[in-house]
Symmetry: none
Subunit: 207 residues, 4 copies
DNA sequence: GATGAATGAGAGTTCATTCAT
DNA sequence: TATGAATGAACTCTCATTCAT
């Protein structure tokens, strides 16, 4: 029972995309060659142009792929129903875990910022609205109104804080491991890290 | 009175290094061409190899240049004499400000981590011990002993927290500006940011 | 009826190889540039790397090409059925003639020895066993046993003698022509030379 | 007690020449870089041009140096006073030994022939008359007249034979060692070789 | 006599991309 | 859909040589 032509084409395309994503993440856009991608995929070079147009569009497809995964957890978190402390803990834990298992995302994110976000623009990922931000904003406002939280708390900056606290463990793994003599690749260290973050934030927001 | 031969050579070398540093930061290692460097410097291409050996060693020299600047503020901070709260505020403010005015450093740091720290290894920057860490460790220990601080505070993780809280404003400027609709290039936003961080940390560490 | 794609590719590869072989023989490895090869072949430079990998591998392919031709006459000679004198005359005449019409071989052989045989190693030509040597060894042993030959004759050294006697006419054509005032390019001189060799050897081996 | 300026200059020149000679012999003209020479000599590159004009003239000076050594033994041999057999043995042994201890000569000779003798022409070494040839010619003529030698012996071809028989052991050391499984670098093998040659020639010339 | 800086041409090699089938 | 051949521009790097001191 042969595979249909369409299916085979789809498999070819997916294989190219997944390998390209890994290589772009590992080496960055410039250092990744189309040859490296097709050699590893065992697929003819011409297919890159057939399915994706050119190298840059393939890169943009990679960006869309990994960003899509992030969207999933954002959606999930935005449906969270408990109070602020639990929400913060959930955001931190989910996001931290996401970064931990999606090294591709971390690296492409780094690269994009080095690249002044041009790839993301080209990939049409600029319009992503942020459901978590809304959720967080509401929760904070409620907390401030109830006098439970410092009135100078700001949802956007707090979200930046959360992201920064989590991302640094992965974005700067190599340089930090060296300068602090601490193995940031070890799961134990990462566990301590995420707990450290949760406590810092939960304590740090109170009035 | 003409410039001596040695001085002219030194100027040539410095010019190459400063322009290379900027371009490496802007574009990353692979996307920066030796031609681009020498064209901008108006210097013969051969001189890159005369003074630095090859493109990679020139890149390593760039790393050493920007890391040297960081070393200066670290040394300064390590001589700080006040209490922990003041120390933390000083670290945050100094580091935040350093990142703000040293965009080159931020970008090369990002790139190095994308590149698994290989450039830093090659540049002989691995052995940098961290004077701030010692300082912070002592202060935390004292605070815990006096019952003023949470006993589960850890100097290394706290330092990572501080770095993450600051760095994110610059490392992810483009992606965050887009997804939060907040201009992270504006000085006003950055001022709010650093204050938000200081408060979060100062509140967050207490027992 | 158009040429197929594969055939065209094969022609391109063969053209590159034959021109490269000539130029490598004429100028040596270092003095032969890839540009010179592709210009003469009217073929895009990139094809050298497509078909051969790099300049060195192209050189090795050239070595294999000319060595292959030598293998042909060696095989032929190894099937020789007459006595030793006739065998020696045949070896000398065939080898001499081979060198005469394969200037490429002579020059590449010279170059290889200048280069300490590294190219041949890289080309995988080290394992060439020598069918003539076996043949010669047998014939000599028989002659010695029958008391017709000097008992101190050695097949390996004799073969070296034969090769040396022939090769010198081509390997040192220029320097000998000058220092002896004798035109070693002239067919007449070469005819005298090969006869001189045959007689010297046939007389020189007897008991 | 300082060295005089002239002496220092002479030492500089000699050092450049001796190192250049070795490198040209090892690598050939094209593959030897002026940088390699001056680095090894620890002498400023400009001095090559000061003392020798350019790279090519330095190469020619190397040729003159090693050819001069050959001239010495040729002169010596030309004064030989015994009979033909002894003369032939002397030529073979002296020449073989000369090649054995003057690897530079062998290699530069090879290279020159690859290069169609152009370097030798430029070096003004074309006019070297050959005192041995005269000597040999006389001895042969006498032998033929006395009926002791084959009347078809020719001095020039015989000299070529001798040279070929000797040179092959050194010129093709690498390729022969491989194809014959015989270590041509071993002194024992070379001893056997020279004896094999002497016997072959002494037997081979008789009427 | 000696030095380090500087040069421009050109080396080998690799790139993303297109063509022809 | 898929393929191998082909392209030209650009890459990093090296060369022999000269300049200024």
């Amino acid at each position: 029972m042969e595979e249909t032509k369409e299916k085979k084409g789809k498999r070819t395309k997916e294989k190219l995309l997944s390998i390209a994503t890994r290589l772009f993440a590992e080496r960055g856009f410039s250092a990744t060659t189309v040859d490296a991608i097709v050699n590893e995929a065992q697929i003819n070079k011409r297919m890159v142009y057939h399915y994706f147009g050119n190298k840059e569009k393939l890169y943009q497809a990679s960006l869309r792929l990994v960003y899509g995964r992030l969207g999933d957890i954002e959606l999930e978190l935005s449906e969270h129903e408990d109070g602020l402390e639990a929400l913060l803990a959930a955001i931190i834990k989910e996001y931290f875990h996401f970064l931990q298992v999606n090294a591709d995302f971390v690296k492409l994110l780094l690269w994009e910022n080095l690249n002044q976000g041009r790839g993301i623009e080209g990939a049409g990922l600029t319009q992503v609205k942020n459901p978590i931000l809304t959720k967080l904003n509401d929760a904070i406002q409620r907390g401030i109104d109830e006098g439970k939280l410092r009135p100078d708390l700001d949802a956007k900056h707090l979200l930046i804080n959360l992201i920064g606290l989590c991302l640094i463990y992965f974005s700067n793994r190599y340089t930090l491991s060296q300068s602090l003599s601490l193995d940031l690749a070890s799961p134990r260290t990462l566990d301590q890290g995420v707990n450290h973050i949760v406590k810092l934030v939960q304590e740090g927001i109170h009035a």
